[in-house]
Point group: C2
Chain length 146, copies 2
Amino acid sequence: MRKQPEKSQRQALNLYVKLMRATNRVTGDIHRHLAADKLTHSQFAVLEALYHLGPLSQGELGAKILRSNANLTTVVDSLEKKDLVRRMRAPEDRRRVTVTLTDAGEKLIGRVFPRHAKIVEHEFSVLSADEQEQLATLLKKLGKGK
Amino acid sequence: MRKQPEKSQRQALNLYVKLMRATNRVTGDIHRHLAADKLTHSQFAVLEALYHLGPLSQGELGAKILRSNANLTTVVDSLEKKDLVRRMRAPEDRRRVTVTLTDAGEKLIGRVFPRHAKIVEHEFSVLSADEQEQLATLLKKLGKGK
DNA sequence: TCCAATTATTTCGACATCGAAATATTTAAC
DNA sequence: GTTAAATATTTCGATGTCGAAATAATTGGA
């Protein structure tokens, strides 16, 4: 006997490749559409978070979009340069920087988000609603780890 | 009626977030382990491809590891600098560059790969064998797109 | 045979990202 | 109240990545 370990490793390695391929395809397609509006994934993700959740600190944004605090500075810098967001030191805790959408930012994300949603919907439309539910359950477990 | 489109978009958007979180966790953990041997994902992927498939051209490697040709130049550069691979113009078609493992490269990947396999196995061990099979099927569909 | 189109790699310029160190501010312990 | 530790952001230096243009080599007509 004693073949199990190898088999389970092979299965995991194949799964890893498939996870990468799937992610790669989905993010690649989304990237192309966001690039049409000169937005990176992170920039879009920040605008979207502010759009749906209201003003947030950079730390909160970083946690939300899975990027480092250092990177958040850069992302917010570039959004601020394009006048899509505004920075304000939080008066109740001056270590924090509260980021808010400008009118232009609100307008842009209001236009881009619905299209983004359609594209994501399309990406996953190779799977039935049931399959999507299954996938969600499995990915949730995987995302938590142990 | 007319609520379906919104629901299916919400499902897809949630799924997208879960896919990113799961991928992020898995690659993050793997990254930390590869970094211990001063290897990036791409460098490791190249070594691994050569190890299991034998000498390949850069174009073939790029397709394998899902990176651009431009990037392959850089990745192979750095592996060559560390004396882990060797470049040779293919004599039968001198446009192509054949990449081969050196003895040092073979030794390194022979040592690192088994550990990598164990880590990947561990990453996915939150899922049962059955669940992994399900996930593989779903990701395969998703990776192909339509 | 010669030339145009194709293919493989490299170079170039740009940018996203990270980790570590630096800075600013708040909180908690004494 | 003062000071040490914790927290939030920024700066710095480094690296991985891409797309487009440049270069080199091959192939398929005419």
